[in-house]
Amino acid sequence: MAGILVPTLVLPLLLIAFIVLRLIMQVSFPIERGLVFPMALVPGLWGLWSMLWQWSRERTHLPLGFHGALLPLLMVPTGAFIAVLGGVLTLGATSVTWFNAVTLPYALIALFLAAGMTAYYLAWKYIVGFVNRLLGIA
């Protein structure tokens, strides 16, 4: 439960963004194709990653924040693969383009990954850790 809390809290924000962009601002890009990953898979992956930490922490002694920071290494390629299949991500010669709007040069992907790992480290250490302590499971 602690693991899926953060993505579950983000889901309404994604829905609001979808409604505003697609229905109110009439953005022509089919954003809903990109919703499959964050709405269906990310919460499950967070939950499984949390269960993996509970299962392995006595052997690895890995702090929760570091454990969470490793998740983007799995999720970034998985999400990118699903995004390519959904037509949300276009792979170019020198850059990738998200949602037909955000162009990210390949050289900056490492920086983006570092930012993602930082965000995950903080989210897991302070939010998932807080909920774990609250539930008495850490």
Binding site: V6, A17, V42, W98, F99, A115, G116, Y121, L122, L134
Partner: protein, 87 residues
């Protein structure tokens, strides 16, 4: 008519059988279905304890990371939808 009634009875039997199988598959709740006391006050107490730790217990390194993240979002705001995609 008789055939219809027989078929209806068959469906009814199947439903009863299904209910019986479900009852057997699920463990009975018994008399202890509810906790013997309200758990919410204990949860509130824990939340107060966690809140009392405050921001001072957060190491400077984590503040720096959070600051770097905010700076990254301000420098490249177009990446925010991509970060949300992964949350």
């Amino acid at each position: 008519m008789t055939k219809d009634r027989d078929q209806g009875t068959g469906v009814g039997d199947q439903e009863e059988q299904m209910k019986q199988m479900l009852r057997e598959a699920l463990p009975p709740l018994g008399a202890d279905a509810e906790p013997d006391h309200d758990l919410w006050p204990a949860m509130l107490h824990r939340m107060d304890e966690e809140s009392a730790r405050g921001a001072s217990s957060i190491p400077w390194f984590d503040w720096a990371l959070a600051g770097g993240l905010v700076a990254f979002a301000m420098i490249a705001p177009r990446t925010i939808p991509v970060i949300l995609y992964y949350l």
